[in-house]
Point group: C2
Chain length 252, copies 2
């Protein structure tokens, strides 16, 4: 039985303040919840239709409440025809352990939740496991971000921290950043690891972080658009870094 | 003086039916309106603050109404702190004249306006001038699409048509389409022109269009995401097609 208090609790998690207070977040939709259930996240509550429940194994540790699709409507942030909604625990932040042969994305104030979500999805596609984000970057645990990742939130870890302090603490390794006057990405040897800074949607990479960049790169332009969307630029850079860079060594 | 009738007219253009009836669409925000004023579009109405007016030349043929930023708020679809809003005429559709050495995007039901807008922006960045879209693709002239193009709507032409009929009418040329079992894009010689089909966000390229594809391509995956966002995939394909493909011949 779905109580009013439970509905209020789930809805409160739409607001960052309450997510922080409860250390919980909402996952909406069958595909995303399935990815959640197959992950290491601790699921605490599942509002499920009979149909979803009959096709999926729900964790014994979670409170499970059977609902109708109609009851579910309006509880989540998205008005799609959902069969399930889950609440999971936000894991405690741990310092990321980054290997030498690993690429890491550094998000310098990516404010749009849709952009953040698609960046996480791209990171997952290209096998990037760690994202470092400025405190001003959109909240990873908002429903809009979680939904836009299409399940990739379970495989990519995000760490919010002061980026100047973080970058200043790096001992070595290359730091890539996209600038209009950088080197054509298709002529760059990306090697096997390093940090890639993704600039804010409006102002690009901040002056404060520019000083850490060891490799200015650019996506060649053939038309007249002033810039590319931050998520698209990320996807292009990741693709070239992984497959198309001179160093990738897998060209046919 | 901004009349209630004028406000009603502008607001009515948020709805496709009225855009079609009036053959007009709305452009919001300083950057987008500046691009509009520098383009061949026929601007019919400008609601402008004193500030925007003093820094920009407005067309003599347009009706110009001075407003305060406060008056502007709530008239446009986006609640940003805007200084200007314009209404322009939707041009009559003309059959696209596509050169042999030209790349063309074919959108097979791109339903999300944000995706369509960023695809148009990417097309503009990569110098693609023509986009062919299925009737089910989001409406190019909605405010959300126009805004997401960041001004690129003035440089990329879109043509809505039945895609099977269009593709069936092509005499020759290559037709690229992304599939999971396609050839690695980094090993493809894209040549200097052709059509690139971008599949729907959920189901990819429809069976009906698959039969026209001459070159199945794929973006190599290194992680576990099931798919890439349609706009990101488009951006990656365009980048490789222009710069990274084996045929581009501009590698350093």
């Amino acid at each position: 039985m779905l109580s009013k208090a439970k509905i209020k609790f789930v809805k409160s998690l739409q607001i960052k303040k309450y997510r922080k207070q409860e250390q919980c977040f909402v996952v909406e939709g069958a595909k995303s919840v399935q990815e959640l259930l197959n992950s290491d996240f601790d699921t605490v509550l599942v509002l499920t239709t009979k149909d979803f429940q009959s096709h999926n194994k729900l964790p014994a540790s979670a409170e499970v409440i059977e609902v109708t699709a109609r009851e579910l409507e309006g509880i989540g942030e998205f008005q799609s025809n959902d069969s399930v909604l889950a609440v999971a625990r936000i894991p405690d932040p741990v310092d990321p352990a980054i290997g030498k042969d690993e690429f890491v994305l550094v998000l310098d104030d990516i404010r749009d939740p849709g952009n953040l979500g698609t960046i996480i999805r791209a990171a997952d596609w290209f096998g990037i496991k760690t994202v470092i984000a400025s405190p001003e970057t959109a909240d990873f645990y908002s429903s809009k971000v979680i939904t836009a990742t299409m399940g990739s939130f379970t495989r990519v870890g995000i760490f919010y921290t002061d980026l100047s302090v973080y970058m200043g603490g790096l001992q070595d390794g290359r730091i890539f950043g996209a600038f209009l006057d950088g080197k054509n990405i298709h002529h760059v040897n990306f090697g096997t690891g390093g940090h890639v800074i993704i600039g804010n949607e409006s102002r690009g990479i901040s002056a404060d972080l520019t000083r850490f960049v060891t490799d200015k790169i650019t996506i060649p332009r053939f038309g007249k658009a002033e810039s590319l969307n931050a998520a698209m630029a990320t996807a292009i850079i990741c693709d070239v870094m992984r497959s198309g860079g001179l160093g990738a060594g897998n060209r046919g």
